[in-house]
């Protein structure tokens, strides 16, 4: 017999992922008479669609492990994308924002985008760590504010004419590769470094972490800053891919990211969760979106199913936690 305890926690999430994919495959043959998985192009699109909010989800995972939440991902993405794009316009751009930066090396817009994201994240972290305001409220404030600043930055105008060398980082498989690298890096950091250990400790028992000598405030600020930087990175990749930056980019991405994290088995109670689960969660959301489009089912039905999956995942987590409390 198979002992469930010996399987990694991700096995069941992965089984759900495979189950959903197979379900769409079967439905595909019956409903539209085509294969769902047999279409390589479709699989490519799924991956490309999800990797942007996937980058945000890697940061959100870490915030949720500390038993916080980050609602600002999509808005920070938009602001970072706007600012990064303003430093990445090509020489032939009409009325460029910063003429002196035209044709500068692409490292400048990348660093600027990441820095904007990091600054937003730092503010989230500092407010949460020092004022005791719940992270839900602090990052909700950032969601509204960052989006507004993104609009004001160009008075609502999109930024066009990005240089070819900049848009190259959003082309082909680059976004997927960036998502993959980010996921691997933070998977390793969470698993094998002091940073990771303390992140879990704070989420598990903040008081114990403080008594053990961990500088909880500084650590939280670091986690939120990392999450903000990753939202910034997602913004850079997204505008490079779209070859345009607009203030409305990434709307609701924070919710997709949080959904992926929760579906991936990270506990909203803090202390538990892994990047590998989040990556599978991201893929599940991608398959659902793509599958519904493939079956030509209306977008809003798709949202209903997503909503139910998220609530179901949290209920499952709650039950798990309750069982543990009973045992202890």
């Amino acid at each position: 017999m198979f002992k469930r305890a010996n399987l990694p926690a991700e096995a069941s999430i992965f089984a759900v992922f495979v189950g959903i994919a197979v379900l769409f495959e079967i439905l595909g043959w019956f409903v539209v008479g085509k294969s769902f998985l047999g279409n390589v192009q479709r699989l490519e699109i799924i991956i490309l669609q999800v990797c942007i909010f996937g980058i945000i989800a890697v940061g959100v995972t870490q915030v949720i492990i500390t038993s916080g939440i980050d609602l600002s991902g999509g808005a920070v993405l938009a602001l970072s994308a706007m600012v990064a794009a303003s430093f990445a316009q090509s020489a032939d751009a009409f009325a460029p924002m910063f003429p002196q930066f035209l044709g500068s090396p692409i490292i400048i817009p990348i660093v600027v985008g990441l820095a904007v994201g990091a600054a937003c994240g730092w503010i989230n972290g500092a407010i949460t760590a020092y004022t005791g305001i719940p992270s839900f409220i602090a990052t909700l404030g950032m969601l509204v504010t960052a989006r507004a600043v993104a609009v004001i930055y160009t008075e609502g105008q999109p930024i066009y004419s990005l240089s070819d060398s900049f848009t190259a980082i959003g082309s082909g498989a680059w976004p997927v590769l960036i998502f993959f690298i980010v996921a691997v890096i933070f998977h390793l950091l969470l698993k094998h470094t002091v940073y990771g250990k303390h992140t879990y400790a704070i989420g598990s028992n903040e008081r114990a972490a403080r008594v053990a000598g961990i500088n909880v405030r500084r650590h939280k600020i670091m986690v939120y800053t990392i999450a903000g930087s990753l939202s910034g990175l997602a913004g850079v990749v997204m505008c490079a891919r779209a070859t345009i930056a607009q203030s409305g980019m990434g709307t609701m991405y924070e919710l997709d990211a949080i959904s992926a994290v929760v579906i991936g088995g990270t506990s909203l109670f803090g202390g538990r969760g892994r990047i590998t689960g989040t990556v599978i969660g991201v893929c599940i959301l991608g398959v659902i979106t793509s599958g519904f489009t493939f079956l030509r089912i209306d977008f809003y039905y798709q949202e209903i199913v997503k909503g139910m999956i998220i609530v179901g995942a949290v209920m499952l987590d709650q039950r798990r936690q309750a069982q543990r409390r009973l045992r202890a």
């Binding site: 879990y200 400790a201 028992n205």
Partner: protein, 260 residues
Amino acid sequence: MNNQDDIILRTENLTKRYGGVHALEEANFTLKRGEHVAIVGDNGAGKSTFVRQITGVEQPSSGDIFFEGQRVEFNSPLEAREAGIESVFQDLALCNDLDVPSNLFLGREELLFKFGPFSILDEKKMMQKAKEVLERTAIKIPDLSNHVGDMSGGQRQCVAISRSASFASKLIIMDEPTAALGVQETTQVENIIRGLKEQGVPLILISHNLRQVFNLVDKIWVFRRGRIVGEVIAAETDGNEIVSMITGMQDGVHEKASYI
């Protein structure tokens, strides 16, 4: 004082008031190096208040604390801990979602490679050391890589105590360490305490269990209504005397009273 070097902890007129409530009045307490003492007293006698002052959880209203001959003021439990005072509280300070080695080494991890917050953990070494520490205490925990939250109350208490005991601390304070434990687990905890005695680590034990107190400590401090009412050598007294000190009544202690 000539025997200054002999004394690890001393309080002088230590007083704590909560508004008009005098929780602790002019407590003069001394603890010698290597000495194991118990603090006993009824509920509300000021035992826990006293411990909260010397572990930095609260700050005294007046009076002084001397640790290793130096006057100290602890503004937080962390400062007391840094000075070498480790405490095991009734509500355990463990991270339920971490395994045993992670809890034992929390905040003082063994490192393979130092690089600020991104230093790489030496998991093998921590696991090895955790095994050694727990072997010394004869605690049976089948798999140290399990989450502490999935373990029994006794196992968790033993992890918490080993955590304090395994780091060359200068003073260990235990508040009702066996209150929620079964017989076997209590024995294990008591063995850890005896081990500390052999190693010469001083200990303050707060317990309601007088039999345990007589079994384990050299000296008993009795608190009553916020004051220290007695300091007796365990070998020179008996349960009856202690109980009458705790209650403040000379007689009326039943021979077969179960608290003896």
